[in-house]
Point group: C3
């Protein structure tokens, strides 16, 4: 399993510039998690500059939280340029299913940009699969959640969806699955406190983008390593929060702490990845 831990080392060694077009709610957290893992963020969403910016960056993170007409055009333009330059594109379809705008934009981005990786919760991913879905705001609908009971079925679904969309699918929740059309990584890291702060998902998508930027030949493995790292950071941050008698505000700071303090061997020791 050496390859997973090396992927973080590759991020720290190459310090990739990551172009983010993301929402204004969690953008600061995304920038800080990118810096914590060794990458360098640049946030730019104006149509007049996104082509210049992606041209100097190694990968593109598109996140549709708080999207608007202006930024949708920028996402499409940046995505097309990234494709032409062969840069990995990661899509986070935040809230797909919660509004017609989000659903149609997510579907359009998948269709026009063909992202390399799609990272979302199960409701968002099912919305993309179905063209419609049961999304409870920006959180996953509980009826959709992946459990040990439906895991085999969920793994098959994600592999099949990966083949259909020609993208690595990373779906996160109590159990995480990262799948391409041939194999799936089932990841059991994480802590439920991650769902009690905003930005866990957005930060993971940013982290995944950094891992893909530094490991462009192994996008599924890079995505799985990012998912395991985020989960492990959540576990460690939760332990520290308990020790200090803290709550979700401290947890948020500790989460970024753990990302900045993570290294390959700690990651290897803590990650719980099963291949199916």
């Amino acid at each position: 399993m050496n390859r997973f831990e090396e992927m973080l080392d590759n991020v720290r060694a190459s310090q990739p510039l990551v172009h983010c077009i993301t929402n204004y709610v969690t953008v600061n957290d995304c920038a800080n998690i990118l810096l914590a893992c060794g990458a360098s963020p640049i946030m730019a969403d104006d149509e007049a500059e996104v082509e210049d910016i992606i041209s100097i960056c190694s990968a593109l993170d598109i996140n549709i939280g708080t999207l608007n007409g202006r930024t949708v055009s920028s996402m499409l333009k940046a995505g097309a340029k990234a494709r032409s330059l062969d840069r990995p594109v990661i899509l986070d379809p935040v809230g797909a299913g919660a509004s017609q705008l989000r659903t149609s934009t997510a579907i359009r981005l998948v269709s026009e940009i063909a992202p390399d990786v799609i990272r979302g919760n199960i409701s968002e991913i099912k919305t993309l699969a179905d063209g419609c879905g049961n999304t409870n705001g920006v959180d996953a609908d509980i009826r959709d959640s992946i459990s040990e009971e439906n895991l085999a079925e969920s793994v098959d679904f994600m592999k099949s969806l990966s083949g259909k969309l020609n993208a690595v699918i990373a779906v996160t929740g109590a159990i995480d699955i990262v799948a391409d059309n041939e194999k799936a990584y089932v990841i059991r890291n994480g802590h439920q406190m991650l769902s009690r702060i905003t930005g866990s998902g957005c930060m993971l998508s940013a982290l995944t983008t950094a891992f893909c930027a530094a490991n462009p030949a192994s996008l599924a493995e890079a995505s799985a390593a990012a998912v395991a790292m985020m989960g492990l950071c959540g576990e460690l941050a939760h332990e520290k929060t308990l020790e200090c008698g803290g709550g979700t505000g401290s947890f948020r700071a500790y989460l970024i702490d753990e990302a900045s303090l993570m290294d390959g061997s700690k990651l290897e020791g803590g990650m719980k990845i099963e291949i199916r």
Copy 2:
């Protein structure tokens, strides 16, 4: 006084989805305080999706900090839809009085949407009352502040304003008042350190929205409970900041900690609410 503490329990039990159209300065804090109290935030400000979003949410928080032409239209549209669906609407008129745009937008929102609760500092509230006011930027003008000396007069003013605007008025400062046209809750929780971080007021408005979402039949009491909870969290966060030798950066994290660790009995034990 059982009803106040039950209001937090109701938030935790019902986990209401709260739609926020808010400023980009403190939006992350608003999302985190909503999660900390047990609610679920969704930030969405594009005119094309606000009607969809409020339709799946239990209440609407409109905050005019960093407003612009695009978001004002969205606020009006979301507000109208919320009204038609009978969802509580909370208005935070940030900086009303500081610019013609903010003053006229705040007045227009009050007139066209008829929010259920208006939460601001005394300068902002007086601006709404007068159609003009003495606002010192986004902070309250010191000449306006509520003190023990002018408390009776201030309580009468707020009750009367509540009747005039047909809204619960929540005015916060050294002493807080939450009034409808018949009664007022005078709340003496809080700590001045709350004024040394950005977002205390915005977070309180978001928290108030969550409390109103979960307690729609008792908006004045729900608002008073939210105000007391925020003040109490400020007191506890200040104590922890002192213990740790921290400053305002730590205080900010501890404030959200305390909100996430709060429960009904702690709230009941710590709140200082007087009915007038």
Copy 3:
């Protein structure tokens, strides 16, 4: 060297209102550092209100991170009004050199507004000097960095650029230089951990604006004091981070802590300013 430490006291005594037109990535950090140093922030970027807002403020901070067509117009309008009212204007040309939009906007702002202080990293400052440059995203290009070896040459360059642009130049990195056309302050405070969080530069520009607002007759000295204070806060925050076994998330909170706990004598004792 008394004058430097008095400058912080002047901020705390006068509590200047500072108008920021800044990016949505680090805007919360900018607001919190302004409050921590004793100033009062107001973020406002709509063309319809920027003239009103700067009229009630003591200084203007223009930061071009995440600029877009709408905000560029607001920057020009606010800048012109600030000039007519004789308010200090500070420009942070974030990412100048990284895209044509940022480069041309930065050059246009310098030419049309004639800011009093320009605060950036060496790549951004050289971009302004050259009309083109080697910028590595929003971080400085390592080939450009100021070292003890090229310090004399760098000091001369900054003095000359200051004369050419008629602005105080504050360039920050491993060694910081604040120069007008006659003298330069070489500042050796700081810690490399400042470059591992987002917002260090933006926060420094905001802090510089507060110092200029409170010390309008001594803009170069005010800027140097702000640069030294930010560096010293970084040193102290790093020490605390080490003590607590924290990472970059804790460092970020401690940095704002230290700004809120700083006073004139602590600043005088810790700052490392050399005049050349």
